[in-house]
Assembly symmetry: C2
């Protein structure tokens, strides 16, 4: 029986271990952190995540989609909160389409349980110190006992996230490894909106809430326990920044002026703001993603992105689906599987990295402008009339797992050019759903 070593038992590592185990491989997963299930700690990352169709496909293929659906909260669109307290709503897709708020920790626990049911062995508090890229040997050091273990296997999968030890080994000991880590000037801090006194959600739970403020934003996603997890995406430095809001008074003044409707909803803001860390946001790009048939980078280890499209986990789960298809096609020819995987997925990883950056500007700024909302309304109207000619970009990325991220990005760019012409029509706000606009769009699409 072939033996595979996985580094990292996060979302992607746990899911991948199930895919591999189902094919009869002996899978050992080594995780740096303690077991989440006995030790509900934060993994240093966001508490809830938005699952969408690419992610569901990855879960459904191993038969656990429904189990997760039971604990997922549908968000049908965005609710934008103005400074004046006004609300506006923008649906994410058509009737019946939604993205789903799920608990990162809860989902990870379910995946780890299922992995063990399938015979995967999970090892915790094991930090990867080295990988031998010639032999697929991996070396771990136990955080409690200090014990060092050398694990021999047929190949190693590095599913160990944005700061991957497997990828570091490629950087340190292979030639011509292209690598970049790029940090945003923004970081994020998590805050919370508790349930109301009567035990209900304090805001509409069927939506993702956004307070778009131009250069920064606050968002909120609902949790099963009727709370919302809020995330402030905010510059580290500058006039309004994590650095500048350094006293309770400055911070509260800022929130009162900028997010006034949150003040009554966040009774523990003072404590939370100063207790919770400001975490950084990085984009990681690299290539190649493999060494011979010995090591493969997968998930964030290969392509860490910013969270603004809600696609980090979804993209990682799609990696597993693509790898599974390649195992179908190429059997035990792992050289080909790894080469095909990296050449197929690299353009998609690059595309979703760019889309996620673009969506930061959309969420923090554009969604606050009537013109942008009108543009989206026109696209949605036109798409309903001509579903074969126009799928809105958000729909391609989020609800269309048969469209590659790279295809979505290039089609989205073409659409944006067309919409610039449409939006430049005088009086567009009064004739946006006219025959004339429809004809123009059809003409531009054909040209």
């Amino acid at each position: 029986m072939k033996r595979f070593t996985l580094i990292g038992a996060g979302l992607v590592g746990s899911l991948l271990s199930i895919y591999l185990s189902k094919r009869g491989y002996k899978v050992n997963v080594y995780e740096r952190r303690p077991d989440l299930r006995s030790n509900r700690i934060s993994a240093g990352r966001s508490i809830n995540l938005a699952l969408s169709d690419r992610g569901w496909r990855g879960l459904d293929k191993i038969g656990i989609g429904d189990e997760i659906r039971n604990v997922a909260l549908p968000m049908k669109g965005r609710v934008m909160h103005g400074v004046d307290g006004s609300l506006s709503f923008q649906p994410y897709g058509k009737e019946g389409q939604a993205i789903y708020s799920v608990s990162r920790g809860g989902l990870n626990c379910v995946l780890m349980d299922l992995a063990e049911k399938h015979g995967v062995e999970l090892h915790f508090q094991e930090r990867c110190t080295q990988v031998d890229l010639k032999t697929a040997g991996a070396f771990f050091e136990n955080a409690e006992s200090g014990k060092k273990t050398e694990v021999q296997a047929d190949r190693v999968f590095a599913s160990d996230g944005a700061f991957s030890a497997g990828r570091l080994q490629m950087q340190l000991s292979t030639d011509r490894f292209n690598y970049s880590q790029t940090y945003l000037e923004h970081g994020y801090k998590e805050l919370t909106i508790p349930a109301t006194a009567s035990g209900d959600f304090a805001m509409d739970p069927d939506a993702l809430h956004i307070w778009p403020r131009g250069t920064f934003m606050l968002i909120a996603l609902p949790n099963l326990d009727k709370t919302f997890t809020c995330t402030l995406f905010f510059p580290f430095e500058g006039e309004f920044s994590f650095r500048s809001l350094d006293t309770e008074e400055k911070m509260m003044d800022f929130f009162r002026n900028t997010f006034p409707d949150t003040i009554p909803l966040m009774p523990t803001l003072r404590q939370d703001y100063f207790a919770n860390p400001a975490s950084s946001l990085a984009i990681v790009r690299c290539f190649p993603w493999s060494v011979d048939d010995k090591l493969l980078l997968i998930g964030d280890a290969a392509h860490a992105i910013v969270p603004f499209y809600g696609q980090g986990m979804n993209c990682g789960f799609e990696d597993c689906v693509v790898l599974d298809q390649l195992m179908d096609a190429h059997g035990e020819d792992w050289h080909t599987i790894f080469r095909r995987f990296e050449s197929l997925r690299k353009p998609d990883g690059d595309a979703i990295a760019e889309l996620a950056l673009m969506n930061f500007i959309e969420m923090r700024d554009k969604v606050g402008h009537a013109e942008f909302l009108l543009q989206k309304k026109i696209e949605s109207w036109f798409s309903a009339k001509h579903p074969d000619r126009w799928i809105p970009l958000y729909t391609m990325v989020t609800f269309s797992p048969d469209i590659r991220y790279s295809e979505a990005l290039s089609e989205g760019r073409r659409q944006e050019k067309i919409m610039q012409e449409v939006m430049a029509l005088p009086g567009i706000e009064n004739r946006w759903n006219s025959r004339e606009v429809e004809d123009l769009m059809l003409r531009l699409l054909a040209s």
Copy 2:
């Protein structure tokens, strides 16, 4: 007495140690390789280098320019070799201006000797395994004895090149460190043209020789022993590549067809080609370059570039000059010195990285075209008439150390736009030095 640790005794580390030692600091330099001086080994990099004005300034400031001038060979311009054996010459600057071919190893030995004369202690075969960024402690392991040493100091300078251990420490243990390493699709292989039977240079020694062939090139620089060191810059993969030329027959056929005039000049081509490695070419960009007042990256550790402008060493020496000026200005305020250094030099490092990439295309392709040579001739003619209005880009980069690389790049871009208009004039080849062209350029400059 303040103690400074330097990692790396290459060209920049050795020069920097002298600058620091002259100011009365106690400097210990730890070098991974054995002592070059007793052990003339290749440092895995090119054998000779082109010194130009920025580099000379760095050497002259500590009084060793003249010693090096005695062993440097002036190259007044480029000699381009056509496939048909035709030669064309393009001067680098004005009468009297030249870049100088020097031996990397020889220069490094002189700098190390001088460092020791100034009380610097050099330690060899000491590999840096870790830097404590809080205490400026550095840890080394001796390659021969295996002995581990911990060195405490007031601050650490990482002058350890493109694969800097000091920089790796920043990547591994600081937040928000932006980093990229990008490899070209081309690599390089060194070849040699020996002296003639009568003991003379086999080609004109007063020039840098280029065989521009569009997507790749061969170059040659003269050495003191009347040989030339040739470097083939060539793709790793593809129809004509290091991979494809895998037999003596294919390689010799390729050289006969592509560089026919080199065949009689390179009697050991067969052996050299297959004995010498194909090395890779990387660009390293990162930021910040410092941690508090404890660690500073300098030279290639901060900004490794490709060799096509002959500026890697010159830029590193200029780093030392800039640091020296900041020490003059800010005394023992190292926090300020490090901050000012990185904010001043980062744009210049980025600019020379881009200029070096642009010059690859110029050298391998453009210099083989009459139109390009005409453009350079016009610029040179106009510059002679209006030296206050127009300094050619090559001159700004190479012969004008008072102009920052970043200024040269932006001025060069402006000039290029003007020259595109000039070159588009019908019949420009017949009236390039006319009053009309002069007036047009003056008008475009003023607009």
